[in-house]
Symmetry: C2
Subunit: 257 residues, 2 copies
DNA sequence: CGGCGTTTTGAGAGGCATCAACACCTGTGG
DNA sequence: CCACAGGTGTTGATGCCTCTCAAAACGCCG
């Protein structure tokens, strides 16, 4: 789908996902498992960092929340992308010593796939190539949406888009709406949205006052009318049905209920 | 290289670029020409738009300036990426009817490669897979740098980074510095930098007053000390030697002198 | 209970957007 | 040759949004 929900031909229609890890809706594990070392699970504490180095690795987030982070020399931080359970993390940008790293924002479990070892053998595999292409295509889509968010949306719009996205990513269906546990701090949200922690807190208060969401605790909120929340942002959420696809979204939501 | 110039192993070291179009430093044409329809040149007037539709096409910019654009329902526009001669344009995001399009910001010449027709045959080609991977990797890198720019840099920093990048992309060595012709309007620059046309104009005046650049005309400027200009931005320019690689940059600059 | 980290709220300042007026250039037609 | 219109770029005044600094409230845990 396009950013605003215009439909285009899905490149993978009809093929059921092959999942290994329970919440893993991605097919890469299934495609890989035939010819590569089995995926290795990794446990990460909050704040732990991963470095891809010069190797080419792909992680699937099984549990928790991981982020691609950068920092400027003066300490300003920008979170380039967030990965919630079921997402793939593929830091193609960085490299040895680059100031781009993968960080666990919460205690997390990741599945690591190292594609370096038999890269040449894998290059001949059409199924894998297609799958890798699908992964980076999705990454480019998400990054582009995030880029537009940072370039053209104001604070309120950014926060509403973020909350909508988090409902699709982490929301659990509950009586009359969605319940979501936010696994990141205000500062992490701010660094993701190109804002300031205080500003995020202030906008959360405004969202509460507008009755677009109810905040049970600083880290838990409840959304009664997701359409209303969604419509406050002029862009489709990267993990919403318009972009991710309704089938895949359903599969992921049903894993959480 | 990382964003700030930390070096990592270049995936293509040692291999000379195979170019077909004169200013085309990319290897894709060479890799493709063996088994695919020859690249088709296209002439575009200013403002003309291309639609990738459901097919998978790649364009090489031979001359002019092309952009990946989006627009929000209320008309706000964001330019996701710019492509100058030698760049590849590969709009993997969009699709039929999506509100993402390729637009010529100046009269331009593009080389079109359609990868749809024999996609299956091409998937078996290891060299092509590797080349495609290199392309999207570069695209992810550029998009990420742009994302950080929009998220964490203020107006002055954004403009200095933009001017630095334009020197690397379009600059011609001249006595004691670089001369650059800007092929885009203030509004286009603003839409690329997430700013406002008036603000861009004001910041250009500040840059002039700081003697970081001299403006010969609204569309031509001259940079005496590129190091000074570069150091005003806390990030490496996507087309600078730190990210693009010194060898490839030299090749592109020498095409223009 | 007291310490610590996080979140919230307030006051003030600064940056950018908006609206408006004006200068400049180009091409057209009288 | 000049007048004029339309597009583009510059500059000014004003207001709003967000950042910064600061203090207080809240939750968690030893």
């Amino acid at each position: 789908m396009g950013f605003n929900g215009t439909r285009y031909a899905a490149p993978d229609s009809g093929q059921p996902p092959l999942a290994i890890c329970p919440p893993c809706v991605n097919r890469i594990c299934g495609v890989m498992s035939e010819k590569a070392p089995a995926p290795r699970p990794r446990e990460l504490q909050r704040g732990a960092r991963l470095d891809a180095g010069t190797s080419f690795k792909v992680w699937t987030v099984v549990d928790g929340l991981a982020a691609l982070c950068t920092a400027l020399p003066d300490g300003r931080r920008q979170i380039v992308s967030l990965s919630t359970p079921g997402d793939l993390l593929c830091p193609m940008v960085g490299g040895e010593g680059a100031d781009l790293w993968v960080e666990a924002l919460t205690a997390s479990r990741l599945c690591e796939l190292d594609l370096t070892q038999n890269a040449r053998a894998l290059a001949d595999d059409a199924a894998l190539s297609a799958e890798l292409f699908r992964i980076v295509q999705r990454q480019v889509t998400c990054t582009s949406i995030h880029l537009i968010t940072l370039g053209r949306l104001d604070g309120m719009e950014r926060v509403c888009l973020f909350l909508t996205d988090m409902v699709w990513r982490l929301g659990v269906r509950s009586e009359g709406g969605w319940r979501v546990h936010l696994p990141l701090s205000r500062e992490d949200i701010a660094d993701y949205l190109g804002l300031n922690a205080e500003t995020v807190s202030r906008i959360f208060s405004r969202v509460k006052k507008s009755k677009l969401a109810t905040f049970i605790s600083p880290t838990d909120f409840f959304v009664r009318d997701i359409e209303a929340l969604q419509s406050r942002a002029p862009l489709a959420a990267p993990h919403g049905p318009e972009v991710l696809g309704r089938d895949q979204l359903e599969a992921m939501v049903s894993c959480r209920t």
